[in-house]
Symmetry: C2
Subunit: 410 residues, 2 copies
């Protein structure tokens, strides 16, 4: 059985190992079965049992690892996380559930904890059984190499069609104690509305109760991943997990305390940073665009409008082509379900107002075209009806997206 | 002013002029303003005032011609229809409304009726003012050439990114009188969920009340265009209009009568035939696929599931690549909002069962791949929960789609 452990740790702690008391390990299980030697299994271990929380896909087709992690999170505690890429372990029936539980059991053996303290995540092709024996051997190999220097390699091991690993870190001080929050993510595909899987893992050495941690994660995901989509219209495997082990040695951060505020901000920064990296690395993406809707009747309508625009193939292709086609943007808003009165509506691309109060403006089209040539484009829509605001992030749709997805499983 | 009338009528009646008492005329207005000489204005005239009905986009951004046609249809009567391609006259404010009314007025002058008896449709780029004087001159030129042989040219004049004109005809007999139903359509783009504009025009020489005609159209659209989407999530301009002028000389067809049943069937056949042609000519499409969902809790859920699958970029790219990626299909159903229990679910591609009762089958993958190489692919999903059934039609997503749409307006 060919098991290839990740590179020896020479790197500095980063991403999920940036915070104290977290180690990662990786190994190759040839999950894809093509004889490849890249690491495709990662484990993440906390030195002590950590508070843990997760947000998951709302798809009715939930992969086995999602089901297992949701059950294991009931107590809000975890010691380790195990992840594989190359196979989603979704639509795999009772065998899939048994395989996800075996991944947890093997990881529990490696880090010496209860299987219920292990969270599981998978990403890749749907509907194929995992090569579970190779995965288990890789978990054992990864466990031998657990090290704080392996954060980066873990971020690489969880990649599927991602072109580069995604990590983020933030620090804050409470009572003279420096706390660290770090994370890694994978996700490419179209993300919203029906992404290739988005996985994100965040660790912190802050001390915080499981209940508060779950609240902070939900709020943070709402303003980051959910602008690109985690728990809305999503894949079978989307998961965002956070572990807080208190290893920094600071006091417990209570809800509403200044320390909790700082943790909230740092967590938000990590999630937002990872979300931005995911969008920028969208399959075939050459640019990203941010759609900010204001003046909607309420936040829900603003969100519907912003997300309908970012997921519109006609808008995405226009962005790809650098075409200032504001009509497609308005048409997307018009079918989003948000209230809209054209004569109160304003729309700007790259800071240039293209449409205002029911009519087209005399925007300087050359400058607009120039703005559309930038790697990041801002679209602002003021519906002029109320106080609802929301922002969504999207990427362009290129021929490369089609090429990548036309033969993914085969 | 360069006005180019359509070719002299040598052709046989077809499409919208197949039924007795209908004539068409076309001319070029260079609506796109690129000096092109193709006919881009068409008028359709009935020899007498006809019963008329329409179904329109539900987008909150409605183009000016949609607003005007909806008002003109209040009495359920019409004498003529005027259509231009190349410019949608959408998001054009009060000037756009005035232009749509001018199109109706000029057409009324040409065919000698009241402006309120003229229905208006436009398709093309959003947000640009119409070159209304050129359009009016073209309407006048088209009026000079009104002829039963111009049906085909009218179907060509209304095209935008369509690669060929779309026509359909059907006949039925009531009491020894042959009745004809004919139609034309344009529509390409992704159709659902956010189509380039779909326009369809149907004429019949049957005699039927406006109220019954409206009922028949709604029912027919529901099982044809709405499976690809007309009045769901749609463009700013989608319109489907039907005129019945009684010129066949038969008796009025009453609701529930055998004659009305025959008209219903013929109308359904025309709408379905046009819908199929529209999907097959989807932008960049190389194949079409039909998704039949049964066993849903109700018809609404079946429709949601079927349409979510046909509009999924990940499914569409897999179909393009001939990839039997049934996992993506199930994932799309899972996020569609339809109730789903994997262990009761069956999924077949090209007649081969790929997934049944929670697990993957031993389908003959080579034959499945062969089925996916065909121009038309059948996908069947049995949710195993109830009696809800629905069918949706889609096309694949190719790099060509991106190319077409990356620089449409410029």
């Amino acid at each position: 059985m060919a098991v290839r452990a990740g590179q020896a740790a020479s790197a500095a702690p980063s991403g999920v190992t940036a915070a104290s008391g977290f180690r990662a390990g990786t190994a190759g299980a040839d999950v894809r079965g093509d004889g490849g030697s890249r690491p495709d299994v990662a484990i993440l271990a906390s030195q002590t049992t950590a508070a843990a929380a997760g947000v998951f896909t709302s798809n009715r087709v939930k992969a086995a690892p999602v089901v297992v992690s949701q059950i294991h999170l009931k107590r809000g505690l975890a010691r380790a996380v195990v992840v594989n890429s190359g196979n989603a372990n979704a639509c795999t029936g009772s065998r899939g559930l048994a395989d996800a539980l075996r991944m947890a059991q093997t990881t529990a053996d490696v880090v010496d904890c209860a299987p219920s303290e292990v969270l599981v995540a998978s990403t890749g092709v749907i509907g194929r059984p995992l090569p579970i024996e190779r995965v288990r051997a890789a978990i054992i190999a990864a466990g031998r190499g657990l090290d704080r220097g392996q954060g980066r390699l873990a971020a690489e091991a969880i990649m599927t069609t991602d072109t580069h690993p995604k990590e983020a870190e933030a620090r804050f001080e409470v009572g003279g104690v420096v706390h660290t929050v770090g994370g890694m993510a994978k996700g490419s595909g179209m993300i919203h509305p029906e992404m290739a899987t988005l996985l994100a893992f965040v660790t912190t050495d802050a001390r915080v109760s499981p209940v508060l941690l779950a609240q902070l994660l939900r709020a943070g995901a709402r303003s980051s991943f959910n602008t690109i989509s985690v728990d809305g219209d999503t894949s079978t495997n989307d998961s965002c997990l956070v572990l807080a082990n208190g290893a920094a040695g600071g006091p417990e951060l209570d809800a509403g305390s200044p320390g909790a505020e700082l943790l909230t901000a740092a967590l938000g920064q990590i999630l937002q940073g990872l979300a931005e990296q995911v969008v920028a690395d969208g399959e075939g993406a050459t640019k990203t665009f941010e759609v900010r809707v204001c003046g909607a009747l309420d936040e829900r309508q603003a969100r519907m409008a912003a997300r309908t625009v970012t997921s519109s193939p006609l808008v995405k292709t226009a962005i790809h082509g650098g075409d200032p086609n504001w009509g497609r943007i308005l048409a997307a808003v018009g079918r989003s379900g948000a209230e809209l009165a054209l004569d109160r509506c304003r729309l700007a691309i790259g800071g240039y107002e293209m449409f205002a109060m029911g009519r087209v403006t005399e925007a300087p089209l050359e400058q607009v075209a120039q703005a559309l040539g930038q790697p990041r484009i801002a679209i602002e829509i003021d519906l002029g009806l109320g106080d609802g605001e929301a922002t969504a992030l999207g990427c362009d749709l290129s021929p490369e997206y089609v090429r990548i997805n036309a033969d993914y499983s085969t």
